[in-house]
């Protein structure tokens, strides 16, 4: 059980990393892109870069913990 947990923790750390919000936003961005492309027939090539840049900025903002 301990080894299984360590195995899971390794892969979580390897794939998700320090901030799980980034991974979640990437998955949401890909899902929205697929919905727009297939259901709404919109060639939303611009959506994923916007989501990626927003995820990076938001994660950096949270990590630096600035307070006015």
């Amino acid at each position: 059980m301990k080894q299984l947990k360590a195995f899971g923790a390794f892969w979580y750390d390897f794939i998700v990393g320090d901030d799980w919000h980034v991974a979640a936003l990437v998955v949401i961005g890909l899902g929205l892109t697929a919905i727009l492309a297939h259901a709404a027939k919109v060639n939303a090539w611009w959506l994923l870069p916007i989501v990626a840049f927003a995820a990076l900025a938001w994660s950096l903002h949270r990590a630096t913990g600035f307070r006015k």
């Binding site: 320090d18 991974a23 990437v26 998955v27 697929a34 870069p49 900025a57 950096l60 630096t64």
Partner: protein, 231 residues
């Protein structure tokens, strides 16, 4: 190399050879299987993984460049590893005179090799040109070896954080490109879109560095302690 210098060359080479055999077996088994997967699904999965990895790398590089995270000290890390290797007891096992050297070399070569295999197969398969990806990887190995011999300097001389920033930019760009393509969109200009995407991602990364530095100067509160001390 570090294992051979600090411990024993024979067991190190045995570990390296065993890892190469395992690596070849894994590549032979997994390579064709990846090739058989539908390209769209492969692009979504690989794109998502590359994008998540890339954003992680960029995030860390930006935090380090702006002093919100301690720079990775390669010299002290090397000294720690050497001290650990020298302190470990010598144990003979299964025909190997120094089991510690064998396992250290085996793990190092296998893990790093798997990363290379993953990159070569996915990049090559996505572009339907595994041969070009293999040539690129081989050229990189030769170049790094030649530079190492020419410079004769340890990794501390390499501007590590900027290399990581560049890797983050490339992973983010390719991840965005393949992920979106796999999700069903067509990029304007097809593959040429990468020529725009890579500099745009680099500019956004640089803008993040500028943004955090300017916020720091305006006298905001310090970073969270966990971000400063963790590697």
């Amino acid at each position: 190399m570090a294992t051979g210098i600090t411990r024993e060359w024979k067991s190190t080479f045995q570990g390296m050879a065993a890892a190469l055999v395992v690596l070849a077996a894994i590549t032979a088994a997994v390579g064709p299987a990846i090739n058989d997967l539908p390209l769209t699904a492969l692009r979504v999965v690989v794109g998502a993984l590359l994008l998540i990895f890339g954003l992680q790398w960029l995030r860390k590089a930006v935090l380090r460049a702006t002093g919100h995270k301690a720079l990775h000290d390669e010299a002290s890390a090397y000294l720690r590893e050497v001290a650990a290797a020298e302190a470990a007891t010598k144990e003979s096992k299964r025909g190997v005179s120094d089991w510690y050297s064998f396992t250290l070399a085996f793990k190092g070569v296998l893990l790093e090799g798997l990363e290379v295999v993953f990159i070569v197969i996915t990049f090559g398969d996505n572009q339907k040109n595994i041969g070009a990806a293999v040539i690129g990887a081989a050229a990189a190995i030769i170049l790094v070896t030649l530079v190492g011999i020419a410079v004769k300097a340890p990794l501390t001389k390499v501007p590590e954080n900027w290399m990581k920033f560049a890797v983050g930019v490339m992973l983010t760009s390719f991840g965005t490109f393949w992920g979106a393509e796999g999700a069903g969109v067509a990029w304007p200009g097809n593959d040429a879109a990468l020529l725009v995407l890579v500099p745009v991602v680099a500019l956004v990364g640089a803008a993040c560095i500028f943004w955090l530095r300017s916020r720091k100067i305006t006298g905001a509160a310090p970073a969270k302690q966990s971000e400063v001390v963790s590697s």
